[in-house]
């Protein structure tokens, strides 16, 4: 840290830096481990403790007596609760999330199959949110009280107040049913079902990789509405936060100093202030991305988008508890991962936290 002995620093800093890094790593691992364990404790509680008969919740009420008995032993229900939790954690750690009653396949396989659809939607939504939200927020802060500032305020207020599934329904009604500008529910028209084979599961990417332009156009027209919708909510959040971070940065003394040395205003705003605002902004963007992944349960239901959200809601409707809890664990883990990732990014973006 700064002090009169700063001259001595190069001699001291290397071992100290290494120890600092080790400490940060240990801290990160402990945080990741405890948070994941907490998540599993939660899903364990939901799956095993709350239901009157956890077996029934897992295999469904039409299962035979043998199946019920076998599952009871498999789940270790005859043992103490803490031991059951241990078994549960060990199984999840091996990627063992149980069988889905609905698809009679391992839940993890199902999730791998449907997840790319969710990822595609959330990614486009976040891209829209960042590409429009950040510049809007910056301009709102620069011209405080101006037209764009008012716009950001209204957009933000509505974004925090509109039920997303309702807006989705109305958007489908208007742009698909009435105007016919975009394609309706689903990811791709049935016509392409036989000619188009996905590679990665991210359809827009797959169509490009295969050079299938007619499929690509169709995929984009399916993507347009749901990703614009998610983009709007992401934009509402990101622009509002960008505005408030920028207002804070623009009031700092280093901005006055940058003006005093004659830098053009454009450079001051975009290179100095935004570069500083970017530090907390990264967290906001990661959180909004995580929020879109989680919010997929509602959007995907409205747009019949065959992703993780729709998978979970279908499982819910059919009391397929393994699938519900498996989906919860996966989304929860991704959510936690993004949270911690934003924490790491924060550290790399801000030189002040880097060497301590």
């Amino acid at each position: 840290m700064a002090g009169p002995n700063a001259v001595l620093q190069p001699a001291l800093s290397r071992p100290r830096r290494a120890r600092g890094r080790l400490f940060a790593l240990v801290r990160f691992v402990v945080m990741l481990a405890t948070t994941l364990l907490g998540l599993l404790a939660m899903t364990f509680f939901i799956g095993r403790v709350i239901p009157v008969d956890p077996v029934l919740a897992v295999v469904g009420d039409r299962a035979s007596a043998q199946v019920v008995e076998r599952t009871r032993i498999e789940m270790g229900l005859d043992r103490p609760l803490i031991e059951q939790f241990g078994i549960y954690v060990a199984r999840v750690a091996q990627g063992e999330l149980g069988q889905s009653v609905l698809t009679s396949r391992p839940v993890l396989d199902d999730i791998f199959r449907v997840f790319p659809a969710t990822l595609e939607l959330a990614t486009y939504g976040t891209l829209i949110g960042v590409l429009f939200g950040v510049p809007l927020g910056v301009m709102a802060a620069v011209r405080r009280g101006g037209l764009i500032d008012q716009l950001v305020r209204v957009v933000g207020l509505l974004g925090y107040s509109i039920p997303i599934f309702w807006l989705g329904l109305l958007a489908l009604l208007l742009f698909y049913a009435k105007l016919g500008w975009v394609s309706g529910p689903g990811r791709i028209d049935v016509v392409f079902e036989y000619t188009f084979t996905p590679l990665t599961g991210i359809y827009s990417l797959d169509a490009l990789l295969r050079g299938d332009w007619s499929a690509f156009a169709n995929i984009v027209s399916h993507l347009a509405l749901p990703s614009a919708l998610l983009g709007y909510f992401s934009l509402a959040y990101i622009s509002r936060m960008t505005r408030s971070f920028m207002l804070h940065e623009l009031s700092q003394e280093y901005i006055v100093a940058a003006r005093a040395k004659g830098l053009p205003e454009r450079t001051i705003i975009w290179r100095h202030a935004l570069r500083n605002a970017a530090v907390p902004l990264v967290t906001v963007i990661a959180l909004s991305y995580a929020g879109l992944l989680e919010g997929s349960v509602l959007t995907e239901t409205v747009f019949s988008w065959p992703g993780l959200g729709l998978y979970i809601t279908n499982a819910l409707a059919n009391a397929d508890m393994n699938a519900v809890l498996g989906g919860t664990v996966v989304i929860g883990a991704i959510f936690i991962g993004l949270n911690l990732l934003s924490d790491l990014l924060y550290r790399t973006l801000d030189p002040r936290t880097r060497r301590r």
């Binding site: 405890t34 925090y160 509109i162 039920p163 989680e294 349960v297 919860t328």
Partner: protein
């Protein structure tokens, strides 16, 4: 706390208050004058007051029964008899909207009653005690904070069974952590103040200090945050209702009404549109009220 005594107010109320009650009264007056100068905040407040009135008087105001309709009156467009039309079971949509104010208000107030005190307690205890108590409590808080709220609420309701009480529990379980964070931050900022030291020297127990001298100071920021969260709670509850996990039929609930109107969206769009507008207006009301309260009570904090 820098909200008391802006020079203008100090001039208008120049004398020193004579009693605690008088001081409190004066402070409320100041708050009100700062809050009511914000027109949008007043709009928000009126929306919420209207919601409460409608929920209380639903039986008197609603022109028809919310649960029974005539089969001959299915899916009627808006008319003078049915201002917002009727749904697929011939029920008057306006009456259902009016009765739908009840579960909405119930969810919001129950979540608030459950989650805010828990967060307040955890935060103040962690902040005041410090040390390992703080470390453990905050780790737990952070763990809960890192959970996906909506998905976890879904899983909870899936296990507990659909229903409005279970939806409330599920939402409350995931909404206390931010309050704990806020309460802890406020506690840390007052813990080492001289007046707390004075109370401690007079022999007050830690419990008494936390209850009487720390918690009241956390309330302002907490109320702001809770109000701003209300809109989110309403949206989550409506989402659960939309997925069929909230209030069960035939109870009128706005999210569930959108779900049932979804099937007729192409030809009878008003069935799904009306409850969405109701949700939008109420969430907007809470957001405007929250923004206004924040500006009046807590001029420093920007929304997180």
């Amino acid at each position: 706390m820098n909200e008391h005594a802006t020079p203008a107010l100090a001039n208008s109320t120049a004398q020193v208050p004579r009693s605690r009650g008088q001081a409190r009264l004066r402070r409320y007056k100041e708050l009100w004058s700062s809050f009511s100068s914000n027109r949008l905040a007043l709009v928000g407040l009126s929306i919420i007051l209207a919601l409460i009135a409608i929920a209380l008087l639903a039986d008197l105001i609603a022109p028809y029964s919310p649960t029974t309709g005539g089969l001959g009156q299915r899916l009627l467009p808006p008319s003078t008899a049915h201002w917002l039309g009727t749904d697929d079971q011939g029920r008057d949509i306006l009456s259902r909207l009016i009765h739908g104010a009840r579960p909405t208000l119930m969810v919001v107030s129950l979540v608030m009653i459950l989650a805010a005190p828990v967060g307040l307690l955890v935060g103040t205890v962690a902040g005041y005690a410090g040390g390992w108590v703080d470390a453990v409590l905050m780790r737990i808080t952070d763990i809960f904070l890192a959970f996906p709220k909506l998905i976890l609420a879904l899983a909870f309701v899936a296990a507990l069974g659909p229903g409005i009480q279970n939806a409330v529990i599920a939402i409350a379980i995931t909404s206390w952590p931010p309050y704990a964070r806020i309460a802890r931050a406020e506690t840390l900022s007052v813990r080492d103040c001289d007046y707390v030291a004075a109370v401690r020297l007079m022999g007050a127990s830690p419990l008494r200090i936390v209850l009487r001298h720390v918690m009241p100071l956390c309330l302002a920021s907490l109320i702001v945050r809770v109000t701003l969260d209300m809109a989110g709670i309403i949206l989550t509850a409506a989402g659960l209702g939309f997925l069929g996990l909230g209030a069960q039929p035939p109870m009128a609930e706005w999210g569930a009404m959108i779900a049932s109107g979804r099937r007729f969206i192409l030809d009878q769009w008003w069935v799904a549109a009306a409850p969405g507008v109701a949700i939008l207006i109420v969430s907007l009301g809470f957001n405007l009220l929250g923004d206004g309260l924040r500006d009046a009570l807590d001029p420093r904090g920007e929304r997180e």
